[in-house]
């Protein structure tokens, strides 16, 4: 792991983000405002993911197991 090239790559990514969203053109207080909004949105999304996604995934997993688990019984019932 090369720390120098890693940090320069991250800096390059940050520059790309700045250019694409036009925050390169903004005055400092506008940049602060923009980044605050962005970071707040990301944090909210991450928190929501942390709260809800595990329950949803385990629910989906149970549903799939339910489908698979029922199969032998269904075939047995048809054969009868």
């Amino acid at each position: 792991v090369d720390i120098k090239s890693m940090t320069s790559y991250l800096y390059w990514l940050y520059c790309q983000y700045e250019l694409i969203t036009c925050s390169y053109l903004m005055e400092p207080w506008e940049k602060v405002l923009f980044y605050t909004v962005n970071v707040a949105t990301l944090v909210t999304l991450a928190y929501a993911a942390y709260l809800f996604v595990p329950a949803r995934i385990s629910g989906a997993f149970c549903f799939v197991l339910h489908l698979l688990g029922n199969q032998p019984e269904n075939t047995v019932s048809i054969m009868k």
Binding site: Q16, L19, I20, T21, S23, L25, M26
Partner: protein
Amino acid sequence: MANPSAVCNGHLHYHQKQNNLLKSGISKKNGITKGIKKNGVSNGSLSKKAFIEHFEQAPMYVAVLTFVGFGVGTIFGYLRDFMRAWGLEKRNIATEREQQKDFVPLYQDFENFYTRNLYMRIRDNWNRPICSVPGPQFDLMERVTDDYNWTFRFTGRTIKNVINMGSYNYLGFAETDANALKTVAKELQKYGTGICSTRQEMGTLDKHVELEKLVARFLGVEDAMVFGMGFATNSMNIPALVGKGCLILSDELNHTSLVLGARLSGATIRIFKHNNIQSLENLLKDAIIYGQPRSRRAWRKIIILVEGIYSMEGSIVRLPEIVSLKRKYKAYLYLDEAHSIGAVGATGRGVVEYFGMNPDDVDVLMGTFTKSFGAAGGYIAGKKDLVDFLRTHSHSAVYATSMCPPVAEQIIRAMKCLMGLDGTTQGLQRVQKLGKNTRYFRRRLHEMGFIVYGNDDSPVVPLLLFMPGKIGAFARRMLEKSIGVVVVGFPATPITESRARFCVSAAHTREMLDTVLNALDELGDFLHLKYSRYSKSAHPELYEESRFELED
């Protein structure tokens, strides 16, 4: 002629024929037509030259991200406008006086939304004052801003020897060499600078007559007329040629001067897609079949307005197809060679020579002296009847001040150099150097993977940037590396296609071009501009062969 093998057979014979005619005094018109026909370069047929143009589309994510950038810019624009309206921020643009607040508004606030909120942020990349001749290198005045581009102040220092990739100096005639400007200095001492009159009153000098004869000879037409300003040549002469009841078919991407002239004339204007022969033919068919909109009468005149090289795209007009269409449907052709005169063609005579056609095919040849001749002004050339008509009926001829004598002399010396009349081959060398520089620059840019628009032979090279944030970053960083470029965005280009436009010059040396190309390579990697999906491989042999076999 120094190097006959560099010029193809038809053209060499054409020049010799012209010299013979001058000696024997036979009329030029007959001689030129005979000369070209004898050598089998047919008029109006599809040219044998390969017509390679690129208009590559960017990947989809680029368009999406461009709109994201504009969206964020617009949101912040609304925020700033809100703050200005509610007094939270100082207003720097024009506003009405307090006493007149209840009157009809003088300044339409919302229309300037884009200027106020997006253009102002990167305004330092335009209107940069230069303080030397705009040759291959120039000096810039250094300026800084304290309040984010609303006002500038000069520090007093100059940035020296910035490589000039933005000036229209195609043949390198913007020079200060005392030897080259000897005749211009002499004329300045003889005539002074002012004319103080219009052409019709007392403003026609012997210099103008000499220049007009030279221009007519250079282009191979009967007569020409010169005007003091290139933009005014278009906007003031089109109204003299067409009026109500006529039809103008104008290309989508025509220059503002052509659009203004067309609108001032009062004729009906229909637009065809850029360089699209099918679209033009459909419009011509409809015009002939249906006639004028309500009365269904035949149109008095149908005129097609095209340019030789389009300055924002770098594309060259499809002249042979357009001439064959115009013959078939009996329309007139007006060709604006502002960027192509001197820059394309084997001896620099423009797109007519580039396609090997007869100048008689084009009804009105128009051009400017600003780009390839290092002077100012424009000309209209064609048949003698046309030019005589314009001398009396054009607004520019009747009301505008004529060209000043030192400028006329500069054009005369540049044109004589180009035609070889000053006894050297410098003119031909300049044209060939420009061709070499153009091809080299474009080839390297394609190889690096940039999206570059336009024809391979046009010295105008637009490099696509797409995102609004990159426009400012690109221009500023290039200036830090001592290279001056021109960047263009909305509204001069479509909203997603902002670009940097390079103008290659014959005065650029290979080293200068290499410096620029290396800087572009670095900057392309840093700003992630290399969007092309068809970039050439690092082994160019395969491609070069198919290119060069058509070049002699």
